[in-house]
């Protein structure tokens, strides 16, 4: 808003009128009225498209002598919400690095680490393995030609018990994990050209999927697809196409109402443990949060229900001229 010159009449008006806050109920009422209008508009557009499609099919049937049945499928809530973000992503001006600027991203993550007892150099532990959450913070600078600088800081791990903590330090794992250290590496990664076309993109994702981890196909697919969404080199069209493919995945569900961010989940079974994978995207289609946790107890690893075995939080990328 532009800087305004001050005038006593304006000041008085502002002081008297104050700021009038809407109640949540009023907001909800107004939103519902708009949503009904949007739904009606959507139905009208669908009917128009169907009429066009039906006439096209009638002509095709006349020529080919084939009868068609038009089946309309109601997209799920999750699908509609993700596709809405994909539509927005497509119209956003993409972030771009230049010769002197970089796309900068920052994330912090926590991942389950498992060290077999036999690898602890004679330190005895209660179970077969020592479990802990390895925490790290990473900053990444993407250059225009595929040059990537990554700075990773390894933070103090999170332990499940004091005994685990003692065993960890006694076995010298803190040195092995470089706790407290910051490492900066610069690598040159070829800029991957993902196809825009959804059929070709789907094929490319499937080609890249890992298939020998015993995880459901949906999870492996998501793993690759989220890599594309999170990859700062991907064009808005590729990111939008990837989101639309994610939207069509089996079992994807929306958690909570859509707002400035959108969280969705996939439930699956990993080695007999019911597991949930949640993903949060912002309105620009950037990945903001990921979490994998076991819904039921993991008897094999001895983890109680609702233990997060992987969690990562991502800041929205920005363009910067600094590599510090």
């Amino acid at each position: 808003m532009a800087e305004q010159e001050r005038h006593p009449v304006d000041d008085l008006l502002r002081a008297i009128a104050g700021n009038v806050e809407s109640s949540a109920a009023e907001r909800e009422y107004a939103r519902q009225k708009l949503d009904r209008a949007i739904a009606e508009l959507g139905r009208r557009q669908t009917r128009r498209r169907q009429r066009v499609l039906v006439w096209g099919m009638v002509f095709a049937a006349v020529f080919a002598g084939v009868a068609f049945v038009l089946l309309a499928a109601q997209p799920s809530q999750a699908r509609a919400a993700i596709e809405e973000i994909a539509d927005l992503v497509e119209v956003i001006d993409p972030l771009a690095a230049t010769d002197t600027t970089f796309i900068y991203t920052r994330s912090s993550s926590s991942a389950l680490a498992e060290v077999p007892g036999v690898a602890l150099g004679g330190i005895t532990i209660e179970g077969d393995s020592l479990l802990y959450l390895l925490n790290s913070r990473r900053e990444t600078w993407y250059g225009s030609e595929g040059t990537v600088q990554m700075r990773t800081t390894y933070l103090q791990p999170t332990f499940f018990s004091d005994a685990d903590r003692d065993a960890y330090f006694a076995a010298g794992l803190d040195r092995q994990d470089e706790i407290g250290q910051t490492r900066t590496v610069t690598v040159h990664l070829p800029i991957e050209e993902w196809p825009h076309d959804s059929v070709a993109l789907d094929r490319a994702i499937r080609d890249r999927m890992v298939t020998d981890r015993g995880l459901p196909e949906t999870i492996e697919y998501l793993d690759v697809a989220l890599g594309i969404v999170g990859e700062s080199f991907a064009t808005p069209q590729v990111r939008a196409s990837t989101l639309r493919l994610i939207a069509r995945l089996e079992g994807i569900q929306l958690l909570g109402p859509p707002s400035e961010t959108l969280t969705f989940a996939v439930d699956y079974v990993d080695k007999g443990v019911e597991t949930r994978f949640t993903i949060t995207l912002d309105r620009n289609g950037y990945l903001r949060h990921q979490r994998v946790f076991n819904v039921t107890a993991d008897d094999h690893l001895g983890l109680p229900p609702a233990t997060a075995i992987y969690e990562a939080e991502f800041a929205a990328p920005i363009v910067t001229g600094s590599l510090d």
Partner: protein, 189 residues
């Protein structure tokens, strides 16, 4: 120097919503609070939410007419809201209500200190009378500038007048109010 990721402008969202109407919900998310304020100050809280809802529905239906050279659609929404207010007042014959809402809000807004409240109520009543005596055009210009924080060019868009006219209307409105309440500055000091 860091640049933030570029959020889609209102123009981007409205353009995309032509194909995908549900995207218009983002316009609601962005501008509901400002539009509610706009409505509540002009016709009172009782009808504000309903007016805002009608404004968004009307905006949804006429989004194809939005000029995408304006990145923010708030002035456009204010313009639609003005029309919705006008239609309603015409329908129910309550032309005076538009400025009566102002002092009514005042007595609630001025906190616990009795002296302040008395002064505020008295000034507010005088201000309401002075506003009532302004021409409708001058009053709209003043309210859009002082209460809604619009720039001259945005007001010109809302009222569909040349930008140069905004300044003269604004000055005239302020002058007339100062003439109606000559001790305004002393009474509010």
């Amino acid at each position: 120097m860091a640049a933030q990721p570029v959020d889609p402008t209102d123009a981007d969202v409205i353009s995309a919503s032509l194909e995908k109407p549900s995207l218009f919900g983002l316009i609601f998310t962005r501008h509901y609070p400002a539009l509610y304020n706009f409505a509540a100050r002009r016709i009172g809280r009782d009808e504000a939410a309903d007016l805002v809802a009608d404004t968004f529905v009307r905006a949804l239906e006429s989004r194809a007419t939005y000029d995408p050279s304006y990145p923010s659609c708030l002035p456009w929404l204010y313009g639609i809201a003005q029309n919705v207010i006008r239609d309603r007042l015409r329908r129910v014959g309550r032309g005076k209500r538009i400025y009566i809402a102002l002092p009514a809000a005042a007595t609630e807004e001025f906190g616990e200190e009795t002296d302040d409240r008395v002064v505020a109520s008295s000034v507010a009543t005088d201000l309401a009378h002075a506003l009532a005596r302004l021409s409708k055009r001058d009053r709209s210009t003043l309210l859009l500038y002082a209460l809604d924080g619009l720039s001259y060019s945005e007001i010109a868009l809302v009222l569909d007048i040349p930008a140069g006219t905004v300044g003269s209307r604004l000055n005239r409105a302020r002058q007339q109010i100062l003439e109606a309440i000559p001790d305004l500055e002393q009474r509010t000091r």
